[in-house]
Structure formats: C-alpha cells, structure tokens
Symmetry: C3
Subunit: 244 residues, 3 copies
Amino acid sequence: MFKAVINAETLRDAIDSVSSLVDEVKFSISENGLELKAVDPANVAMVSLKIGSDAFEYFKADQGEIGVDLVRLSDVLSMADRGENVQLELDEESHKLKIGVGSLSYTLSLIDPTAIRKEPRIPDLDLPAHVTLPGGELRRAVKAAEKVSDHVILGVSDEGFYMEAKGDIDSLKLKIPSTELLGMKPGEARSLFSLDYLQDMSKSISKAGEVTLEMGIDYPLRVTFKLGQSVDINYLLAPRIEQE
Amino acid sequence: MFKAVINAETLRDAIDSVSSLVDEVKFSISENGLELKAVDPANVAMVSLKIGSDAFEYFKADQGEIGVDLVRLSDVLSMADRGENVQLELDEESHKLKIGVGSLSYTLSLIDPTAIRKEPRIPDLDLPAHVTLPGGELRRAVKAAEKVSDHVILGVSDEGFYMEAKGDIDSLKLKIPSTELLGMKPGEARSLFSLDYLQDMSKSISKAGEVTLEMGIDYPLRVTFKLGQSVDINYLLAPRIEQE
Amino acid sequence: MFKAVINAETLRDAIDSVSSLVDEVKFSISENGLELKAVDPANVAMVSLKIGSDAFEYFKADQGEIGVDLVRLSDVLSMADRGENVQLELDEESHKLKIGVGSLSYTLSLIDPTAIRKEPRIPDLDLPAHVTLPGGELRRAVKAAEKVSDHVILGVSDEGFYMEAKGDIDSLKLKIPSTELLGMKPGEARSLFSLDYLQDMSKSISKAGEVTLEMGIDYPLRVTFKLGQSVDINYLLAPRIEQE
C-alpha cells in the first residue's frame, strides 16, 4: 500500500536530480519515505536519493518496491501549476501508479522491478578532505569550466578549494579561500573529473543552499546536499586519469 | 471602401484563431465588421470568425470582399508594440491593403478572392449536450492529453464533463463535475477527436474567459468563444472513429 | 603594462558592437583607453570603437597593442553576473590576458597582432545630410524591413527621414517627419543598403538613446552613437547599387 500527497515541484526537483544520470529506477518504499540508489549506464556516477516522509503533505505506506520510468513521471509532474500538490496512489493489482493533479488523473504503468538494473553497492570511502559551498557557486564554476575544456581538476589546498580547467588555447582557475567557504576540512585532495557529469549534477545542486564536496588524490568525488528539509541527495563520481 | 483602426493585439489574436487552421481566407466586409468562414485543407475543422465593428477604434466600410494571406498579415501586425493601434485602408484600384503601424506603412498585396477555396457551408447541427468552462482549463487538459496519445475522447455524463486519453503505456482522465463548470446541459455525448486540431484551437481558446463545447455521440464538436466583447469565434471539428 | 577594472556588461556591449562584423581585432592601448578600427571580411562595413578610460572603474596602461578573439572574450564576459566587474591584466611575457570575474580567473591567449588584418583607413567623407533618432526606433524599422526584403533605401527629404523596402509581393515605407527627429540637417540623400549589415549593427544601436545617420546620394552611411558616456562607436556602411 502506498498513498501520498506532495508538492509537485518538490517531487520533480528530487526526481530530476536522478533522471540526469539514469532513466529507470527502483524506488524502495517504507514508512520512512521513498529511497533509491542507481548508477549511470557508463558506471561513472552513482546517485542515492531519500525523500523523507516529512517531505510529503500526506504519507501512508507499507514496505514495497516499484519500478518507475523517471522521464515519464517528470513529464506528468510538469502538468502541475506552481505550488500545486499531486496525489500518488499505487494500484498493486494492475501495477500502475495513479497520479492526480487537480481534476486530471494520470495512470502511469510501472516497470517490473526485476527488469531494472541491480542497485549499486555504494562504496564506503574515507575521503580525506571536504569543502562546503553554496550550490549556485558550484554550478557557476562548472559552467565557466565548460567554456574551456571537457575535464576539470577539483582540489583542496591549505588555502581553500580550487578548480582548474585547461583547454587547448585558454585556461581557467577558480580559488575560493577557506574564509569564504561555508565549511572545510583541509587534506590532500586533487582529482580530475568529467565536466559532462558535473554539469548534469550541478543543475540540481544549484537549487541547494549548500553542498559538500568530499575528495582525495585521484579518488572519487562525493557530493552531498539537501533540497528543502527532507530530500537528501548523494552523488559519487569516479575520477578520470590526469595526463601530464 | 474600407478604412479602420484597431488595436494590433486584438486583430492579431482574432487572426491567429484562424491561421492555425488555414492560411488564405476571404474576408467579407460590411458595415457590421469583418467576417470569414473557412475549412482546413483536410476538411476536418471549420472556423467562422466575426470581428464586430465595435472591436475597432474607427470603422468605415462598404460591402466588399478581400482575399488575405493571414500569415503575412499576422507577421506585419507583430511589428506593433503592445497596446499600439494599426490603421487599415483598402486601395481598391491596386488591390492592396495599406497597414500603418506608428510611422511604418506597410503595403500588403491582396489575393484574388476567386482564387481562394470556396467558403464552407457550416452545418446547422443540433448537438444534445454542452458544457462551459474557462478557456485556460481546456488548454491545460489538451496539453496533458498530448503527453499520452494523439487522440482524445470528450464526453458529458450526468456528473459533468470528462476527457479520456489512452496511450500505449499510460492513460489520462479528466473529470470536471457539473458544480465546477460555468454551465452545462447534460445529454448523451461521447466522441473521439484528433489532438492535433484541438491543440491548434486551444491556443486561441486559452485567451477566452469561457468557452462552450457542444457535443453528441460520435458527432462533431462545436466550440464557441469570444475574444473581448466583439470578436466571435466558432470551430466545428469532425469526430474520429473510436476503435475498441 | 595594462591593468583595468570595468563593469562586465559595459565591456561586453562595447565588444558586441564589433564582433557582429569581425572576430579578430587589434586593440590599441593608451592612457586614454582602448581603441580599435576594423573592416568586415567582405569589405562592406567598417567599425571604429573607443572605450575611454573614464568607462573603467580603474585604468592604468602604457602604450601598446593586443590581438584579441572577440568571440572568446565575449564568452568569458558572459560568466559575470549582472552588475559585476571584471579585472583585466596583461601578462606581457606569456602574451596572455588574465580576466578575473569574482573568484574565477580566466587566462585568454592573445593573437599575434601582426597576424590580424591591417586596420582600415576610414575615409573622411563629407556627407550632405544627417538625421538623429532614438536607437530603438532604427532597430524597429530595420526589423520591419526584413519582413519584406534583403535591401532597404534610406533617405532624407525636406520633410524628414525615410526608409523604403520593396519585396516581391509587399512593400514597406517609414517616414519620420523632421519634427519627430532628435536632430536633422536636410540635404540630398538616398542610398540602398544591405539589411544583413544593418541588422547586425542595429542590435548595438538599439542600446543607444540616440544615433546619428549621415547620408548622401549613393554614398556610404555613417552611423555614430555612444553606449553610456565613454564608449564611442562609428560604423561606415558601403551602399549597394539600386536597380530600377
């Protein structure tokens, strides 16, 4: 059993943070809310999303699992006006999710959860350094780096957080001193990442007041942020090999 | 003789309600205003438009007929700023329409009315049921239905107005109870229509505070609405055959 | 030595007035500011731009010359938020321009000035007639003319300024009487110009409160306007041959 009411924009923002990496996902439903873990088709990025039951206006659910095409779900949610709620109700017999928006009632066919790629085991990395900054600032840096290159170095020095992008002709540096960061744990950290992935992630990240980046030397990047009070998102992005 | 002044946006909105279905039309001019009847190239939809002389700031005309390319006329009107008036004046000798917008003076070549497709005879159908709702609500329903299918069922039941769209995977229902409609005459009504046409029509309909839909069982849909006080628009849309 | 701070939008607007005609330019740097003269690849239009030192928040420079790819520079400036300043600093050894926007630091490779097309000698024409009008009004006229033709006649009569565009089917006239112009010197003037060039120019011109057009009979058009107090732009556009 699953029946819930939620602000359409809250749900859509949560879903968009995942759908930029993977289309079909398996939601775990429990009395605590909705959860999912997924990995992108190229195995470069992992995402975990938790929509706590507090994020809902109404939430009632037994333990369960549903397979959802996020692109279609996001498309349905776009029918809602700004500020409007959506009603969600699982029809267990027909394996369909009923989505009500105002006087519209949409029936979304679910995907057999066994047909969806297995959930990744998210590795429990101990990353030596981390920085916290406004989500909008990270997005701006990513957009600036894209003008120069396809890849970007993220790192932490004693002074603060830095980003470097080198193109064939031009280059770009970003330095945010520790005094201007919202939080920082200094440590050895410098890794190269694909801007394609960072750009997809940064659309959602830019909606967060603050985002924490955990890093090491040629280690994956862990990105942690919240949308509102009760939506928690984690990304883990594999590094690329830096060529001298 | 034809000489008139009208708000550019009023005239453009009126014209756009027709140009989504047909490009070249024959306007009948009389002291009461402008009128046209036209049918789309596929003979699926008819439109009749009346721009009453009251819709004009100034209007002086003898009986007459002019052939107009609506796409070019709409393009010229787009040169006007918001709230600006346009001057229209027929040059009978050269068969041109002079259109003044501010200090710009545009000369639009007219089309020989005999070269334009004959006006349709709009059938005088007695449709058993009708509902009245805000134009914006109809547009929203049409846009939602397009996410699911190419066709949509419109119907009237004892409870109110309904719409159903069935796609290969998902489906959508809309129900507006009679208490939430602006007006209703219950009756036997359920027909299938092409969403392509409804979408074209709904752009203009969405500008109307209210729109009336008249329907029957597998009968054409008649759509009636006003833009402002003095522009009257009627659509008649042929049904499609519903396949079980 | 060159070191300066300027509002990003001011610099971008100045650069866009040139980059619509030519990509790579040679800036002359002096204590008075930046200057350039350039001609478009087809030798139809010339542009001269002066950014006075007063346009800068901070300006310190020795005499010098730098070659710049305006498309890349404009792209970098687009990273700045509305109202934000950019820091410019020339690294003479590495032949690079360092551009700072907030915590971002961009390194733009310069072009060898000798590899850039020689500066044009801008002819000192004595044009018999001129009119002054709001920049936005010229842009509107140009956009209207494009709906009709690829070319446009600009002229001055005793009554004021006029524009004529003749298409295969329709035609357009604009007449602004001298009483509605911001300034006028009557004289013999009527020439045909390419709308492609006028359209490129009119984007920048529309940002100017007033623009002065100097004209003759089948003579080039000289366009003079300011952006803000300290940015001066001049265009010279060759006429086309009018075919009867």
